[in-house]
């Protein structure tokens, strides 16, 4: 039997009258590279926040590596690395300080933290910027340093919300290599993304979520069923506008 790295059981969250996530259950097998796709406002971030301990669900459970994150948060978080979307960092620290801080907060040994911090800065191509304040980083650099803070304790499961947003192609390729390596040696990665092409190439499994409801899950091959993932996604989610579009936006018509 395959191990389940992240087991989401009936998570639900409602903000006022709006149901953000509606009873979603999802199993992420250990050792998979799992893509979570959905249109804007589908509830991806809300669901991942509930699965990582940032947002208390109205109902349901989330088990990270077999530990319920809401029953025993500290044990669950120890094996979990998270890149949250839309949160600040302690940006008055330098990049090096921030990554070290993340390691030390988890109770890691100082020497080990120092060594891994340098390694992470190196692979993120940030060695030269390690002494700069994070507040002066570009969006892509901030994303990379946040990713480093999520990886320093060598978690078994990485949950990455929009990891490639604003990251340049070279760094993105480097990050993909790191993640592929990580999966190859037994780690599990969940990424949320809008870029279907990327998910199709990179992931072994995929889940489609729209309007707070799970539309499909399984291996990429199963979900796309012979179509390209992008076409299948549009099928599942619907809402493709008819192609009448904006007739006046054709510069040739002037």
């Amino acid at each position: 039997m395959t191990q389940i790295a992240l087991d989401i059981r009936g998570l639900a969250k409602q903000f006022g009258p709006k149901v953000a996530v509606d009873n979603v259950s999802l199993q992420v097998p250990a050792g998979s590279f799992y893509g979570l796709v959905g249109p804007n406002g589908a509830g991806k971030t809300t669901m991942l926040s509930m699965a990582t301990g940032l947002l208390r669900p109205d109902s349901g459970q989330a088990l990270a590596n077999g530990v319920d994150i809401w029953a025993d948060p500290q044990a669950a978080k120890a094996t979990l690395g998270v890149l949250a979307d839309g949160v600040r960092q302690f940006d008055r620290l330098t990049g090096r300080q921030l990554v070290s801080y993340s390691g030390l907060l988890r109770g890691m040994d100082r020497a080990e933290v120092a060594e891994r911090t340098e390694d992470l800065l190196r692979v993120m191509d940030l060695t030269g910027d390690g002494d700069k304040l994070v507040v002066d980083y570009s969006a892509g650099m901030t994303k990379k340093i946040s990713l480093a803070t999520a990886m320093i304790h060598s978690p078994k499961l990485l949950v990455l919300d929009e990891p490639f947003e604003a990251v340049d192609p070279v760094s993105a390729a480097n990050i993909r290599d790191i993640l592929n390596d990580y999966v190859e040696f037994g780690g599990t990665v969940i990424v949320s993304s809008h870029v279907m092409d990327l998910v199709q190439r990179m992931c072994t499994h995929v889940a489609v979520i729209a309007g707070g409801v799970l539309k499909a899950q399984g291996s990429v091959e199963q979900v796309r069923g012979g179509m390209s993932l992008e076409d299948r996604f549009v099928d599942l989610v619907g809402g493709r506008a008819n192609n009448e579009g904006l007739s006046w936006l054709r510069t040739s018509s002037n």
């Binding site: 949160v87 109770g107 507040v135």
Partner: protein
């Protein structure tokens, strides 16, 4: 096009009021207050008409104050509503001939501008007895108001360009805050020389009459005194100043629409800073992070600035009355204020707090780290404030008592704040924002929370107060030593208790705290 931009400004003004009822109530109360001031000013002008010999000087002073106020307060302190900042129009390709005047005009569509115009026109009633001068006075008042708004616009555009540099921004706020605090003593020392003040009015006003501040406001006075040469000079000057300023504002808007935001020079810090010196544990890491923020984040820096300013203020007050008893309050006061300042710690983190949530750091480590960082910074100022007044006054017997109360105040404040901040967060200026800018709409909530927290501290300190006061009245050193003993035991106990209880609450409520900081409430 000009009409479109003016309408946009009106819409923005109206929508700003719709956004929150709390803000609207605030604006109404502020507006009523300002209206009250205007009515007072108008009444004063009405009744002063013909009653005073220095009406010309008064006009100049009032006008100059208005312009000066507009020149200083909005660009440097409160920040201006930048929704119509010129650089926002970069993408629209509006011709400069249209955009310049439109932006200048839109500057008048704001509550303060309208109040200023009404106030200055009301002030011109001081000339109501002279039918020939009154119309000139009204025109001069409006010209002064226009000058005020133009000066403000020009300085705002310049300040915005400068303020984009972070270092500069942080420095200005620190300096201005110090100035503000010292304003009281400065004004009181000027007021104490009030007798000589009247002698000063004449020379000051006659100088101001030639500056942009008072040139327009000097017109009615010169006319009333029949000094036509002076009238002509001030008229030419006023027109020249207004024209020149208009040209400058226009040029500045034109430049702002084609200049990209300036590049910032990145700040550097080599190595790990405080992280190198604190223990390699979660608590130690939180201490190092908090210490770094205390020194680097201007929102904390304002709390630190209180330390040198308070003794100055108290000493100044003491030197006025010759009674320096207040200096003995410094130790406990600085202790409470510094200890209390960590009660907004999580709110200041804003969503960066997510790192604490995601790493699953224990509540105890989070609380202890923040409290100990504050303690490390506060202990020397508190010790100094407790020991020095007694030592300088040569009353060595009272030092143990002062020490006991001051240390107890610091420790108890840290303990109470550790509990309170795990439960109550409130809206604070965002990281990198103007630290003086109070976020609208939560005044009452903040006041109640802070009052309750400080009230709790006061009650918890009662066991230290009693021996302290008894020792003071009897001038008894043994009672002072007793105060010190009780203070230390109580303080340390409550600090540990506060960290433990705060840590427990923190762990129960971590996700709720996270949601609260996401909304900054």
């Amino acid at each position: 096009m000009v009409a479109h931009i003016l309408k946009l400004k009106l819409l923005l003004l109206a929508n700003g009021f719709k956004r929150s009822t709390g803000q609207l109530i605030g604006v109404i109360i502020g507006g009523l207050y300002a209206l009250g001031m205007i009515v007072m000013l108008t009444l004063a002008a009405w009744f002063l008409a013909g009653e005073t010999a220095i009406d010309a000087e008064l006009s100049i002073l009032i006008g100059s104050l208005a312009v000066l106020g507009w020149a200083i307060i909005p660009p440097l302190l409160t920040g201006v509503d930048l929704t119509l900042e010129p650089s926002r129009f970069v993408h629209f390709g509006i011709p400069q001939k249209v955009l310049g005047p439109a932006l200048v005009l839109s500057g008048f569509i704001s509550v303060p501008a309208i109040l200023t115009i009404i106030g200055l026109v009301g002030g011109s009633l001081i000339w109501r007895l002279e039918p020939l001068v009154l119309p000139v006075a009204v025109v001069a008042a409006i010209a002064t108001a226009v000058m005020a708004v133009l000066v403000c616009q020009y300085l705002t555009i310049m300040a915005t360009a400068l303020r984009a540099k972070r270092r500069f921004r942080e420095l200005t706020f620190a300096v201005l805050f110090l100035l503000l605090i010292c304003l009281g003593p400065i004004i009181s020392s000027i007021a104490s020389a009030a007798n000589s003040l009247l002698d000063w009015v004449g020379p000051i006003a006659s100088v101001l009459a030639y500056t942009p501040l008072g040139a327009a406001a000097a017109l009615p006075g010169a006319l009333a005194q029949g000094d036509y040469l002076q009238f002509a000079i001030c008229l030419i000057l006023a027109v020249a100043y207004l024209g020149g300023l208009y040209w400058l504002v226009n040029r500045a808007t034109a430049q702002a629409t084609v200049t990209p935001p300036p590049q910032q020079r990145a700040a550097k810090q080599s190595g790990l800073g405080f992280f190198k010196y604190t223990p390699g544990t979660p608590t130690g890491a939180v201490i190092a992070r908090a210490l770094t923020y205390w020194l680097k984040d201007p929102r904390y820096a304002i709390g630190v600035l209180m330390v040198p300013v308070l003794p100055l203020l108290f000493w100044f007050t003491g030197s006025q009355s010759g009674n320096y008893t207040m200096m003995y309050l410094l130790g406990p006061l600085i202790g409470v204020l510094l200890g209390f300042s960590i009660s907004a710690d999580i709110s200041y983190d804003n969503t960066a707090f997510a790192l604490h949530v995601l790493t699953g750091v224990s509540g105890r480590a989070d609380r202890a780290g923040r409290a100990l960082a504050c303690f490390a910074l506060s202990i020397i100022p508190v010790l100094a404030a407790a020991i020095l007044p007694g030592a300088i006054a040569g009353e060595a017997w009272r030092i143990p008592g002062d020490l006991g109360l001051s240390l107890a105040a610091l420790l108890v404040a840290l303990g109470v704040a550790s509990v309170a901040s795990a439960r109550y967060t409130y809206a604070v200026p965002l990281p990198g924002d103007n630290p003086m800018k109070a976020p609208p709409g939560n005044g009452l909530r903040v006041a109640v929370t802070q009052l309750a927290t400080i009230g709790t501290m006061a009650i918890l300190l009662i066991p230290v107060f009693i021996p302290y006061l008894m020792g003071w009245f009897q001038e008894s050193q043994p009672l002072g030593l007793l105060t010190l003993g009780i203070g230390l035991v109580l303080g340390v106990g409550l600090l540990f208790g506060g960290i433990a209880l705060g840590g427990k609450w923190y762990e129960q409520r971590t996700p709720e705290l996270m949601q609260a900081v996401m909304l900054n409430k």
